[in-house]
């Protein structure tokens, strides 16, 4: 068998296509599933689907998917209960944030000024959404909704949570007992609580404890809760990377005269983070999806605004179509991030090919 398989060219071609027997079985199973599932799905989603004109009547007669609903309601799904006449503002914010995310993917963009771009973009986003200056109508965060909420929560929670997580991880390995204890306490407490209860504490208990004029609005409280949660989890992932490094690396850096922070920034962290990129990616993708939990405290993220759009009695509630649409947005965000992380990992692994 063995001999035959390595000699016969035809067999080799098959082998290179399906690999080992186990993989061959998997391939067959997937082929069968695709064969059974794809045609009916395509019939529903494409051939029998109704798109134009985007009115309720189109869907009543359609045998397949009702995309007219998405076409008619996309603005409400994407921007929630944000005042209709002001929707150019969240649209601009989403364009800005997505544009900057795409820009940030290129290694040539990774310079100190990128951090500056992000700070400016986030402040601009906040200002545009909130309004109340330069003739822009003021829109309270209670009326924000949809994609900009999801994007802002994600970017801020991870953008602040990641550096905070790194600091927490370093603090947890510090020589100073007080710093070590504080960091350990924070991480363990935060990880011991489900995100839902942290969100409830932020939205229901804080208003009971803190005087009203000192209390940040609901959106800011959600941001803080998500950031805390992300930083505790990311801290533990980074700590795993720190522990994987041999002691000799820090010693060599110290012996050369590098200070503690120079040693961490130039020698330890680049290596520690590179080894945990897969785990970081995993945690960050979970965090992106966790932002949808803010619906329990009454914030309108993408999923809640999709649900709200479905409540229109004129339409026949095409919920599968709406959730597929939202799924596609989440998939783009998460899959895009995971490809980005893959590239980072390749770059960290391979020798530089300048």
């Amino acid at each position: 068998m063995q001999k035959l398989s390595s000699d016969a060219p035809g067999w080799n071609a098959v082998r290179s296509l399906v690999g080992s027997p186990f993989n061959a079985v998997l391939t067959v199973i997937f082929a069968v599933i695709l064969f059974l599932a794809l045609p009916p799905f395509l019939t529903w989603a494409v051939f029998d689907a109704a798109v134009f004109p985007a009115v309720p009547e189109t869907c009543r007669t359609a045998a397949g998917a009702c995309w007219s609903f998405i076409v008619a309601k996309h603005s409400q799904i994407l921007f929630g209960i944000y005042p209709f006449d002001e929707r150019w503002r969240p649209l601009l914010v989403c364009t800005l944030l997505i544009g900057l995310l795409v820009y940030s993917i290129r290694p040539s963009a990774w310079r100190a000024r990128l951090a500056g771009f992000w700070i400016v973009a986030l402040m601009l986003s906040w200002g545009l959404m909130r309004g109340g200056f330069a003739g822009l109508a003021s829109v309270s965060t209670d009326n924000w909704g949809g994609l900009p909420v999801t994007l802002l929560l994600t970017v801020v929670a991870i953008g602040i949570g990641f550096p905070t997580g790194i600091l927490l991880a370093l603090a947890r390995r510090s020589d100073l007992p007080v710093i070590r204890l504080l960091s350990t306490l924070f991480i363990e407490l935060t990880r011991a609580l489900p995100l839902l209860s942290i969100l409830f504490i932020a939205s229901i208990m804080l208003p009971l404890l803190v005087p009203e004029d000192l209390l940040p609005d609901k959106f800011s409280r959600a941001v803080i809760a998500l950031t805390m949660f992300a930083s505790a989890y990311l801290a533990e992932v980074v700590r795993g990377g720190l522990q994987a490094l041999p002691k000799g690396q820090a010693e060599a850096a110290q012996a050369l005269g590098l200070s503690y922070w120079q040693c961490q920034l130039k020698v330890i962290l680049p290596q520690a983070i590179a080894v945990v990129i897969p785990a970081l990616t995993n945690t960050i993708i979970v965090m992106i999806k966790n932002t949808s939990l803010v619906l329990v405290i009454g914030l309108f993220d993408l999923i809640s605004s999709g649900k709200a759009a479905l409540a229109d009695p004129e339409w026949s509630s095409p919920s599968v179509e709406v959730y597929l649409f939202i799924t596609a947005i989440y998939f783009t965000l998460c899959f895009g991030f995971s490809r980005f992380a893959d590239r980072l990992e390749q770059r960290a692994k391979g020798p530089s090919h300048e």
Partner: protein
């Protein structure tokens, strides 16, 4: 005034209840080459690691070029820019190229410009005979080449004292010579060197003094000819008979 490069007086160091250094006294003149040998666990590494404060001593005083060694950030920086160290396991930074390994500290600690640091690094890589590998990563080099890079990296900070902790014991036998040759060259240029090694050929050829340590003490100290011809202590004789045969 001919002050010492290094002087230790009554230096002690414990790990928990275990005393690794027992009141060590040692003076090293400028330009002197010292080889430290002794059985495993005798405190050789601990001794040289106290000099650049990778270990902190709890009693006694250490002076490097007359400056007191201590744990204050200013003291640490002063000592570590004057004292270079080469480790048994090379400890090159694997995420940086050879050239970046050599320019990291000059750029960040000495605040040299990138161009100046690179010029200096290339000059030293040339001296250890690996300038053509400058843009590779450490993992692409042999052990002997990596250790020579580690020496060049330390020299880029222009130290006045070099510490070596068993620089050849992690190397395949055929690579030992290329590293020892670089160290011999350094010795002939007048660098003050403290070398923990069991390479007795190097000791004979380059050392001004050989020190034998046992159980946290300096048991014996003398010029190599004397040290090898008539060791005074039974422990030294036993040790020499073990490593020379």
């Amino acid at each position: 005034m001919n002050e010492n490069a290094i002087s230790l007086s009554s230096v002690s160091k414990s790990f928990g209840a275990f005393q690794a250094l027992k009141s060590i006294d040692l003076s090293v003149a400028k330009g002197e080459r010292i080889v430290i040998c002794g059985p495993s666990g005798s405190g050789k590494s601990t001794l040289i690691r106290c000099i650049n404060q990778l270990e902190t001593h709890e009693a006694g005083e250490i002076l490097v070029n007359g400056i007191k060694v201590g744990t204050e950030p200013k003291q640490l920086e002063a000592i570590r820019t004057q004292v270079g160290m080469v480790f048994q396991s090379f400890n090159l930074f694997p995420h940086l190229t050879i050239l970046e390994n050599c320019t990291l500290a000059p750029i960040w600690v000495k605040k040299l410009s990138k161009a100046a640091a690179e010029a200096k690094a290339m000059q030293l890589l040339e001296r250890v005979r690996i300038p053509d590998q400058a843009h590779k990563r450490p993992s692409q080099l042999s052990g002997g080449q990596q250790q020579r890079v580690a020496i060049a990296r330390a020299l880029c900070m222009e130290p006045s004292v070099m510490l070596f902790d068993e620089p050849t014991s992690a190397l395949d036998p055929e690579m030992v010579k290329e590293v020892l040759d670089v160290m011999l060259e350094l010795a002939s240029e007048g660098m003050t060197m403290l070398v923990v090694t069991h390479e007795m050929g190097f000791a004979r050829q380059a050392a001004d003094r050989v020190i034998f340590m046992d159980q946290g003490n300096i048991l014996e100290s003398g010029p190599p000819t004397e040290f090898f011809a008539n060791p005074r202590h039974e422990r030294t004789r036993l040790f020499l008979s073990q490593i020379l045969h």
